[in-house]
C-alpha cells in the first residue's frame, strides 16, 4: 500500500528541491541556447578553422558521457587552481553539454531555409548579419522548435545527474529522504510526478509557440 500521508509530509521539501532543479535547468538552458547558436554559426562560417573548432566541440561533447563531463568540471578543473562550487559546475556541465546538441538542431534548421531567401537579401545589399537576424533566423525558429523543446526536456531530466556532486536538486533530495525512511516507492512516485510537471510545462510552451510561429503559414 502506498503511504499517501507520507507523501503529503515530504511534499513541501520536494517542492523546494523542484525549484532548485528548475533554477539549474533554466540557467543551463539559457547558457546552452546562446552557446549552441554560436557554435552553429561557427560551424556554418566560411572560415575553415572556426568550422573545425565548432565541429571538434560537438564531437567531444556528444561523444562522452555527461557524467564524465560533470566530473571533469567539478574534480579536474580545480587542479588548475580554479574551484567551482557544485551548483556552478552543474550548470556549466549541463549548459556545455546541451549546447552541442542545440548547435546541431540550429544548424539543421538554418540549412533548411532555401538559399534563395538569403540570396534575395544579399541582392538588395543587406549585409550578412542583418540577413541572418531578419531573414534566416526568424524562419529557422519554426523547424528548430520541436527538436529544441525535445532537447530541453532531456536537459531537465539530465539535471538529475548533478545530484552526484551533492547539489540539493530534486533527485538528490529524493535520495536523501528515502535513504533514511526507506520509502523508495512513495518518494520516487512524488519525484516522478514533479519531473513530469516540469517537462509538461515545456510541452505546453511548444504547442503555444508553434501556433504563434505558424502565423504566416496559416491561410
Amino acid at each position: 500500500m502506498i503511504d499517501w500521508h507520507f507523501i503529503a509530509i515530504i511534499m513541501p521539501r520536494l517542492l523546494r528541491a523542484c525549484g532548485q532543479t528548475m533554477g539549474i535547468s533554466l540557467c543551463s538552458l539559457s547558457l546552452a541556447t546562446i552557446l549552441g547558436l554560436s557554435v552553429a554559426l561557427l560551424r556554418l562560417s566560411p572560415i575553415r578553422v572556426l568550422g573545425t573548432a565548432a565541429w571538434t566541440y560537438v564531437w567531444l561533447v556528444r561523444g562522452t558521457p555527461l557524467l564524465l563531463q560533470l566530473f571533469a568540471l567539478y574534480y579536474a578543473v580545480p587542479l588548475t587552481g580554479l574551484r567551482l562550487d557544485p551548483w556552478l559546475a552543474g550548470v556549466l556541465a549541463l549548459g556545455f553539454n546541451s549546447a552541442a546538441y542545440f548547435s546541431e538542431i540550429f544548424r539543421a534548421a538554418i540549412q533548411s531555409i532555401p538559399p534563395g531567401q538569403s540570396e534575395a537579401a544579399i541582392a538588395i545589399g543587406m549585409g550578412p548579419a542583418t540577413t541572418l537576424w531578419k531573414i534566416v533566423l526568424p524562419q529557422a525558429l519554426r523547424p528548430a522548435l520541436p527538436p529544441y523543446i525535445g532537447q530541453a526536456i532531456t536537459l531537465i531530466k539530465n539535471s538529475s545527474l548533478v545530484s552526484v556532486i551533492a547539489v540539493p536538486d530534486l533527485m538528490q533530495t529524493a535520495q536523501s529522504i528515502y535513504s533514511v525512511t526507506f520509502k523508495v516507492v512513495e518518494v520516487m512516485l512524488a519525484t516522478g510526478v514533479l519531473y513530469l510537471f516540469m517537462t509538461t510545462l515545456l510541452q505546453i510552451a511548444q504547442t503555444w509557440l508553434e501556433r504563434r510561429l505558424n502565423y504566416y503559414t496559416v491561410k
Binding site: A120, A123, I124, G125, M126, I135, Q139, Y216, T217
Partner: protein, 246 residues
C-alpha cells in the same frame, strides 16, 4: 552614359568556362533583352552584374563602381544597393507581409525612417496594383502577385538598374501578362533594365536591344526589329526558328 559595363568578362565554374570574353555596355534608360538557349550563360551574366556570382576574369562596372575579380566582398554591398534583381522563383520572405517585404530594405539598409519607408512601400505596391494586398503574407498571394511584390521590393532600394531573370517563367499562363505589364510600364518610365526572357513578343515590343547569347558568348547584339526580322548569325536564325516552332 553607360550604367553597366563588362570588359572582357570571363566566368568559370571549376574548369568549365560559362562566360567567355564578354564585353557589353548598357546605356542609362536602355532596356536590353538577353535571350538564348538553355545553358548559354544568361543567368550567370545577370548574376555577375550584382556579383551574386563573382566573375573570374575582366572587369565590371556599375554606375561608376568598378568591380574586379578580387574586390573584397565587403565592398560588394555598395554595388548591390544600386542594382535591383527579380528572380524566377520570386524569393519573397514568407515571414514578412507584402508591405514588410518592401519596407525592410530601406529601413534596415538605408536607415530610412519607418513612416517614410512605409509611405514609399505603400506607393510602390499601389503602383504594381497590390494596394488591396499589402497586409497579406506571400503564402496568401498568387504567383503573379508575389512577383509584383518582388518587383516593388527591388524598386524600394531606388536601384540604378533592374535585372529580371525569367521573371515570368514560373507563373501560370494567366498571370504572365500582369507581370509583363508592370515591366513594360517600368521600361516606359525610363528604367534601365536587363531582362532575361523567353517571351519573344515582349522582347520585340519592349526592348531597345536584343543580346543573343550562346555557349557563354554574345553571338549577336542588335535592334529588336533587325534581330527578329533579319538575324545576322546562323545560330540566331536557328534559335528563332526553334522558338517560333514551339
Amino acid at each position: 552614359m553607360s550604367i553597366v559595363t563588362f570588359r572582357n568578362v570571363g566566368k568559370t565554374f571549376g574548369s568549365r568556362p560559362v562566360l567567355q570574353d564578354v564585353s557589353l555596355d548598357i546605356e542609362e534608360g536602355q532596356v536590353a533583352a538577353l535571350i538564348g538557349p538553355s545553358g548559354a550563360g544568361k543567368s550567370t551574366l545577370l548574376r555577375c552584374v550584382n556579383q551574386l556570382e563573382r566573375h573570374s576574369a575582366g572587369e565590371i562596372s556599375v554606375d561608376g563602381l568598378v568591380i574586379g575579380t578580387h574586390t573584397r566582398s565587403r565592398d560588394l554591398t555598395a554595388l548591390r544597393r544600386r542594382v535591383g534583381m527579380v528572380f524566377q522563383s520570386f524569393n519573397l520572405w514568407p515571414h514578412l507581409s507584402a508591405l514588410e517585404n518592401v519596407m525592410i530594405g530601406p529601413t534596415s539598409i538605408l536607415k530610412t525612417p519607418l513612416s517614410q519607408a512605409r509611405r514609399q512601400a505603400e506607393h510602390l505596391l499601389d503602383q504594381v496594383g497590390l494596394a488591396a494586398h499589402m497586409a497579406k503574407y506571400p503564402g496568401q498571394l498568387s504567383g503573379g502577385q508575389q512577383q509584383r511584390v518582388a518587383i516593388a521590393r527591388a524598386l524600394a532600394m531606388e536601384p540604378r538598374v533592374m535585372l529580371f531573370d525569367e521573371a515570368t517563367s514560373a507563373l501560370d499562363p494567366e498571370m504572365v501578362q500582369e507581370v509583363l505589364g508592370v515591366m513594360e510600364r517600368l521600361a516606359a518610365a525610363g528604367t534601365t533594365m536587363l531582362v532575361v526572357t523567353h517571351e519573344m513578343s515582349f522582347a520585340r515590343r519592349v526592348a531597345d536591344r536584343i543580346i543573343f547569347m550562346a555557349d557563354g558568348q554574345i553571338v549577336e547584339d542588335a535592334m529588336p526589329e533587325d534581330f527578329f526580322s533579319a538575324p545576322r548569325e546562323a545560330r540566331s536564325r536557328a534559335f528563332l526558328e526553334r522558338a517560333h516552332l514551339s
